[in-house]
C-alpha cells in the first residue's frame, strides 16, 4: 500500500489531482481479511475518459457483489502525474486502497480503441510488470483483456495472458471461481490457464502457434494441445432483464466525459451498416423492458444524485417502445429537474418531436451521421438513410428553432469517387440552404454547420474486412480537396489525423507479429496515441522499421476471401459467408434491409437464440 503521505507530496503538483484519490461515493471498501482475490479493473486512458465507460461500472459492481473478491480501479495517469510518480518511484496503484498493481491477482484491461494499446504497456511498465506474458513469473498478476477490440486479440497476443471474448458478465465469474480452486490447490500459472482454456469465450494466445506462408499471410493457427479449442465462441447475455444489472454507479468528484447516469436500454443493432463492427459483433439485439428500466433509473438516481440520465445503446431509435419509455422517464423525473439525453438517435421527425419534448427550452446541437456524401455510396455502406430524410429532418429541426448542426462523414470508404467527396460539400450546402429558405420570422439563432470527415478504418468482422484502407497520401489529398471546395462562413470543416487512422487500421486487422511493434513503439516513447498533442508518429515509423514489420501489409492490402484472417478463429455467430455476401452486395450497390423488416440470414440465430433479431 502506498502511504497517503507519499502521495500528498505530489498531488498538488499535478493537474486535477482528484483523478488519483479514489474515495468517491458508491465505491466498495472491503476488509483485508475478507479478500481472497484482488482484481484491478484497468482502463488504458485517463480517469475522466474511463469513468464514463459503462462496462467499468458493470464489472466493478458485479465483481464486488461477490464474497471474497475485491475489484478496484486503475487508470492511466496523465503525463504530469506519471512524471511525478517516476521521479519518486511510486508504482502504479489502485484508487480504492492504493495497492501497487503488482500485488493483484488479475489486472483486467478493457480494450475500447486501438490507440490505447501503448497505454496498457505504460501501465504495466509503471507497475514493474513484464510487458510480455512469457516473461512473467508465478508471483505476477494475470493480465487479461476484453472489450470490443478483443474481437481481434492478436496484436496483443504477446502481452495479454488471456482474453475474454464477448460480454464478460458470466465468463468473469467462472474465471474467478476457477481461480479460487486454483489457490486452494496451489496450481502453477500454466496449470491455471489449462484449467480455464475450455471455458467458453476464453482465449489463451500462448496456447496457439501461428504458421505463416511465404507471402506473409497466415497459413494456419494450431492449438498446441488437442484439448485447446480451435474456435473461440463469443459469450453474450441472452436475456438482459435477467442479467446482472447496474443499480448504482460511482460518482466522480471531477467532471468526466459523460458525467451522468447511464441507462443501457438494449444491446446489439439490426441496421447492418457494412462498416460498423459494433453492429456485427454485438448481435443479436436484446432489449430491457420498460418496467425494468424505470426501476433501474430510479435506483440509479437515488444512489448517485446525478442530474441527467443518458439512454445508452447503438441506434437508440430502434428501441421497440422508445416513446413510452421516454414519456415515463420524463414523468418520473421532471419534478426533480433531471434531464434526459438520447445520444444515438436517428433524426427522423418522430425523434425530433421526442427531443423537442425532452429539451423543451434548452437546446443542444443536433448530430446527423450520413457517413457518405452521395446516395450511391450510402447504399454501398448500407447506411439506410436518404438525402431526403436528412434534408427533411434539418428542415423540421430549423423550424423548431435549432441552428447548430453537426454532420459526420467518412472518407476512404470502398468505391469512393470524386463525386462522393463533392457530395459531402453538396450535402452541407443543401443543409445551409434549408436554413435560409425558412421564412425570415421563423429563423432563430445563428446557423453553424460543423462537418467532420474521419478516415475510414476497415475493421475485423465487418463486410469491409477484406478492403484496403486508403494510403496516407490518398487521405491527405482527399482532405485537401474537401478543404478547398468547402468555403462557406457558416460551415466549419474538420478532418481527423490520417496517421492515427492508419495505425488504427494496422491494429484493427493486425496479427500477432504487430505485438512487437507495439512494444518497440512504447519503448520509443509512444503513449496516449489517441491524444493529438501526445501522438508521436515518427516513433511509430521507427518502431516498424526496427521490427521489420510493414504497416502497409495490414492497412493497405486487399485480402482475398480465401485468406486466413488473424481473427478467423473467433466465432461471433455472424457467418463469414454472410459477410462475403454483404461485401458483394455492397459492390453492386444493393442495400440490405434492417433485420426487423426481413432476415438476411447472418447466422446469429443458429447459435445465439434469445435475441429479438
Amino acid at each position: 500500500m502506498i502511504e497517503q503521505k507519499t502521495l500528498d507530496k505530489i498531488l498538488l503538483k499535478v493537474e486535477k489531482p482528484a483523478r488519483y484519490i479514489g474515495n468517491e461515493q458508491n465505491i466498495y471498501i472491503k476488509k483485508e481479511e475478507d479478500i481472497e482475490t484482488r482484481f484491478a479493473f484497468a482502463f488504458p486512458d485517463i480517469y475522466d475518459v474511463g469513468m464514463s465507460h459503462l462496462g467499468l461500472h458493470i464489472l466493478y459492481n458485479l465483481l464486488n457483489n461477490e464474497k471474497g473478491i475485491y475489484c478496484e480501479r486503475v487508470f492511466a495517469p496523465w503525463i504530469d502525474m506519471e512524471e511525478q510518480m517516476r521521479k519518486i518511484n511510486i508504482p502504479l496503484f489502485s484508487l480504492e486502497t492504493k495497492t501497487p498493481l503488482k500485488d493483484f491477482d488479475f489486472i483486467g484491461f478493457t480494450l475500447q480503441y486501438e490507440m490505447s494499446y501503448t497505454n496498457i504497456l505504460n501501465m504495466l511498465d509503471l507497475s514493474n510488470i513484464a510487458l510480455e506474458s512469457s516473461n512473467r513469473d508465478e508471483k505476477d498478476p494475470f493480465i487479461i483483456a476484453g472489450g470490443p477490440c478483443a474481437y481481434n486479440p492478436e496484436p496483443l497476443a504477446d502481452i495479454v495472458d488471456f482474453f475474454v471474448i464477448g460480454e464478460a458478465e458470466e465468463t468473469i465469474l467462472k474465471i474467478m471461481k476457477k481461480y479460487k480452486q486454483m489457490k486452494q490447490k496451489a496450481m502453477t500459472r500454466k496449470e491455471f490457464l489449462e484449467s480455464i482454456v475450455n471455458i467458453e469465450g476464453i482465449y489463451v494466445p500462448s496456447f496457439y502457434e501461428v504458421k505463416y506462408k511465404e507471402d506473409n499471410t497466415i497459413e494456419k493457427m494450431i492449438p498446441k494441445k488437442k484439448n485447446y479449442p480451435s474456435k473461440i465462441k463469443k459469450v453474450i447475455q441472452k436475456n438482459l432483464d435477467e442479467t446482472y444489472y447496474l443499480d448504482k454507479m460511482i460518482v466522480p468528484f471531477i467532471e468526466t466525459v459523460h458525467d451522468r447516469v447511464i441507462l443501457e436500454i438494449f444491446r446489439g443493432c439490426t441496421r447492418g451498416c457494412r462498416f460498423c463492427q459494433a453492429g456485427m459483433i454485438y448481435r443479436p439485439v436484446r432489449e430491457r423492458s420498460v418496467e425494468n428500466l424505470l426501476e433501474l433509473a430510479k435506483k440509479l438516481i437515488k444512489s448517485t444524485g446525478h442530474e441527467e440520465i443518458s439512454l445508452s445503446s447503438l441506434s437508440t431509435s430502434d428501441y421497440s417502445d422508445l416513446e413510452n419509455l421516454v414519456i415515463r422517464l420524463m414523468d418520473e423525473f421532471k419534478e426533480d429537474r433531471i434531464g434526459l439525453s438520447l445520444p444515438s438517435l436517428r433524426l427522423d421527425s418522430f425523434s425530433l418531436d421526442l427531443i423537442e419534448e425532452i429539451q423543451k427550452v434548452r437546446k443542444t446541437g443536433l448530430t446527423f451521421a450520413p457517413e457518405a456524401g452521395s446516395q450511391r455510396l450510402r447504399d454501398v455502406i448500407n447506411k439506410g438513410i436518404t438525402e431526403e430524410d436528412l434534408i427533411n429532418s434539418c428542415k423540421d429541426a430549423f423550424k423548431m428553432g435549432w441552428s447548430t448542426v453537426k454532420l459526420y462523414f467518412m472518407i476512404g470508404l470502398p468505391t469512393e469517387t470524386k463525386e462522393d467527396l463533392e457530395g459531402i460539400k453538396n450535402l452541407a450546402y443543401k443543409v445551409r440552404e434549408e436554413f435560409f429558405n425558412q421564412p425570415k420570422d421563423s429563423m432563430k439563432g445563428n446557423l453553424k454547420i460543423t462537418t467532420s470527415a474521419s478516415c475510414f478504418v476497415p475493421k475485423a468482422f465487418t463486410p469491409f474486412q477484406w478492403h484496403p484502407q486508403n494510403s496516407l497520401d490518398e487521405f491527405k489529398e482527399k482532405q485537401e480537396y474537401l478543404k478547398k471546395i468547402i468555403k462557406d462562413k457558416k460551415i466549419k470543416f474538420n478532418t481527423h489525423d490520417a496517421e492515427t487512422s492508419f495505425l488504427e487500421a494496422v491494429f484493427a486487422r493486425g496479427d500477432r507479429r504487430v505485438s512487437k511493434v507495439l512494444i518497440h513503439a512504447f519503448k520509443n516513447g509512444a503513449k496516449f496515441d489517441g491524444w493529438r498533442d501526445q501522438f508521436k508518429y515518427d516513433e511509430w515509423i521507427n518502431a516498424f522499421a526496427e521490427t521489420g514489420v510493414a504497416p502497409e501489409f495490414y492497412a493497405n492490402r486487399e485480402r482475398g476471401y480465401g485468406e486466413v484472417l488473424p481473427w478467423d478463429f473467433i466465432d461471433i455467430g455472424v457467418t463469414k459467408s454472410f459477410l462475403i455476401r454483404e461485401n458483394e452486395r455492397s459492390k453492386a450497390g444493393e442495400i440490405t434491409p434492417n433485420c426487423k423488416v426481413s432476415c438476411s440470414g447472418c447466422g446469429i440465430q443458429k447459435d445465439f437464440k434469445g435475441g429479438l433479431c
Binding site: 498538488l12 482528484a18 468517491e24 461515493q25 468528484f253 467532471e255 448517485t304 444524485g305 446525478h306 442530474e307
Partner: protein, 228 residues
C-alpha cells in the same frame, strides 16, 4: 424565503477537489438526501445555494459556510443528519440554522483564520525563524508581485499586503516543522490568500520549503479586525 445557513468542514482527500467540483458534489448530495432545494428559473435550472468564499484546491477547513434556499421547511437537525448520511468522507455538515439575513454570505465575510504548517530548511535556526517573523510583523508595508490575466495578457502589479494581515504568530516550533496561526483579510472588499503570505514570508527571508506546506482554514469571521 427559507434560507438555511450551513457550516461545514472539508478535510482529508477532499482537499484535492476544486471549488467547482465541490459545488457539484453538494448538488448531487442534495438530491441523494432528498433536500427540497429551490431551483433557479430559466433555461438551465440550478439549485439555489451559494458559498461564503471559495477554498482553494489543496486546503482543508473547519469553517466553511453556505446558504441554501429551500422550497419547504425542514428541521435543521434533519438537514444535517440526512446530508451527512450521503456525503462522502471528507465533507461534513457541522451545523445549520435558518436565517433572515438578506445579505449574501459573500458580502459579510471579512476575515479568515488559518493554521499554516511549514518545513524549515536544513540550515535554518529557531532564532532566525523567530527574528524573520518579528521583523515581518514590524513592517509598515510589504509589497509582493501579483499577476493577473487580462484579455490573454498577464499583468503584473506590486501590491501592499501588509494591511490585509491582521495576526501572525508562531504557535509551534520544532526542528522539522513550524506552525503559524494567522488572520487574513477575506471577502469581496479585499482578499489575501495564505499562499501569498507564505510567498511574502519567504521573500522576506523565512527559511522554509517553498513547495511543501499545509494550510488549514480554521474559520471565517464577519469582523474587520485591526492589526495589533
Amino acid at each position: 424565503m427559507l434560507k438555511l445557513r450551513v457550516k461545514f468542514k472539508k478535510y482529508s482527500l477532499i482537499r484535492y477537489i476544486s471549488h467547482l467540483d465541490l459545488m457539484r458534489l453538494f448538488q448531487r448530495a442534495f438530491r441523494r438526501a432528498n433536500i427540497p432545494v429551490e431551483y433557479s428559473k430559466g433555461f438551465n435550472p440550478q439549485p439555489k445555494f451559494s458559498f461564503a468564499t471559495a477554498l482553494a484546491l489543496g486546503l482543508t477547513s473547519d469553517g466553511e459556510y453556505m446558504d441554501i434556499e429551500l422550497q419547504e421547511e425542514i428541521a435543521p437537525e434533519k438537514f444535517t443528519k440526512d446530508m451527512n448520511d450521503v456525503l462522502p468522507e471528507g465533507v461534513e455538515i457541522l451545523e445549520a440554522h435558518y436565517t433572515d439575513d438578506k445579505k449574501s454570505l459573500m458580502s459579510i465575510i471579512k476575515s479568515s483564520s488559518y493554521i499554516i504548517e511549514l518545513i524549515p530548511l536544513e540550515n535554518s535556526s529557531k532564532k532566525s525563524i523567530y527574528e524573520t517573523i518579528n521583523n515581518f510583523k514590524r513592517k509598515k508595508e510589504i509589497y509582493i508581485t501579483k499577476s493577473k490575466k487580462k484579455k490573454g495578457r498577464t499583468i503584473e502589479r506590486e501590491v501592499d499586503i501588509r494591511k490585509n494581515i491582521y495576526e501572525l504568530d508562531i504557535i509551534l516550533y520544532e526542528s522539522d516543522r513550524i506552525i503559524l496561526k494567522t488572520l487574513l483579510k477575506t471577502g469581496s472588499t479585499g482578499n489575501l490568500k495564505p499562499e501569498l503570505l507564505i510567498k511574502a514570508l519567504i521573500k522576506e527571508g523565512l527559511q522554509v520549503d517553498d513547495v511543501d506546506f499545509n494550510i488549514h482554514r480554521l474559520d471565517l469571521f464577519t469582523e474587520d479586525p485591526k492589526w495589533e
